[in-house]
Homo-oligomer: 225 residues x 2
DNA sequence: TGTACATCAGTGAACGCGCGTTCACTGATGTAC
DNA sequence: TGTACATCAGTGAACGCGCGTTCACTGATGTAC
């Protein structure tokens, strides 16, 4: 490992500070508040100076989404790993509750990842964070593998993209045709209530959304057993 | 019914045109593209002239959200009514598929209703469309009533807001404590996959999202039966 | 250890843009006699 | 039917703002001899 020069270190620190301030601005005033000028102002710099670190505003935002998504995925993986094995159903519940907890702790981050909330932002063609998205899918797939019982009524291979199929195969080679659909359906299920909650659509109606969510997860694993 | 004066008619037409253009701008370039100046430009008017029709930008946006949400709810209600009665399970499927179809046909509208995508927009304290949201919940509640079997493990009255409880009571007076939670859980379930699809998170992986969604609905009603 | 040069982070000013909102006004449309 | 007045939709110009991006430049930090 080559040791960093002083200049390299300062440069890396400044880059981190830009991202940290962008995240703080987002957390305070929503994703729309991320602007190069605001960040520069916050850092006591000139707006143009940011261009020494990021070639473009959209590039910065793509980086933020990628890092946030990666942080979320890391959190999900460690939540499952950092707990004694208590059966496949419990692991799904653990995973999903970690998802909700991260989302509740980082609502703007959740929106940045899953909505399209920065006006004028154009993500790269593969999407801003394809790697993290795949990791999330793969992680969920591996949790769901022991709970998968093919019963033939859930769709065909041809419905699903070859890329994802290969990704899933990397986790588990003897994957069934409808397994991908199964995984995405569960993903949709754990996503739905969290999305409603984050966007305030349960807000006034439910006093304890965590409890509601847990009830739904109980119902989910009951259906899988 | 009092007949409209010429002036009143022109005024109403212009108001409708403003809203229609705002919806078109949103559909073309996303919710962030809604601006008074763009609308005025499109109408061949001066920006200031809009203030003869809406007191404020946020007021216009609130109106748009309310009307979109009302249109969605109307669509859901007529989808269920406009089909011969074929059992409670089939009605849920019909309702949910109408939800998805509306969302796919109006993705930006779906985002305007369920995300928070207009930067700087501050909704009124009760939310932009409380009436439509209640109607949606009430409608779903009435569909779910015949499928509700209390089994005591799903939560307590105290978790839910009195307002919603009363609303549900208006639909059905002998409502069970956990019924509200049950309704919201189902709402989250039908919402999840649609939200992922609209935001492009299934895009590259699933060839026929409608089929995936249908499979999930089949699984849902199977669990309810 | 000291000097000459290269690197490069950050400045400051500008360009051109779009935005919401206000306001004194013009001129057409309607109303009252 | 014609005139005098009131209404009111829309103008046009301005205010003040924030934005992304570019560019010639300064001045400090590093490197080579």
């Amino acid at each position: 490992v080559r040791t960093q020069s002083r200049r390299e270190r300062l440069r890396a620190e400044a880059t981190e500070e830009i991202k940290a301030i962008a995240l703080r601005l987002m957390a305070e005033d929503g994703p729309g508040a991320i602007s190069l000028r605001a960040i520069a102002r916050e850092m006591g710099m000139t707006a143009g100076a940011i261009y020494g670190y990021f070639p473009t505003r959209d590039d910065l935002i793509t980086t933020l989404i990628r890092e946030l998504y990666t942080a979320l995925v890391g959190r999900l993986e460690s939540a499952v790993v950092g707990r004694p094995y208590d059966g496949p159903a419990e692991r799904i519940v653990t995973w999903a509750e970690a998802l909700r907890e991260w989302a509740v702790a980082n609502p703007q981050g959740f929106q940045l990842i899953y909505d399209a909330p920065v006006p004028g932002y154009r993500p790269p063609p593969e999407g801003p964070a394809p790697e993290a998205e795949r990791r999330l899918c793969a992680g969920l797939s591996s949790l769901l593998t022991p709970l998968w019982r093919p019963d033939g009524e859930q769709g065909e291979w041809e419905d699903f993209d070859r890329g994802l199929a290969d990704q899933v195969r990397a986790v588990r080679t003897d994957v069934e045709p409808a397994f991908v659909g199964f995984v995405l359906r569960i993903w949709g299920r754990v996503h739905g209530l969290v999305s409603l909650e984050i966007h305030g659509h349960l807000g006034r109606q439910v006093r304890d959304p965590a409890k509601l969510y847990r009830a739904d997860l109980r119902d989910l694993v009951k259906g899988l057993a």
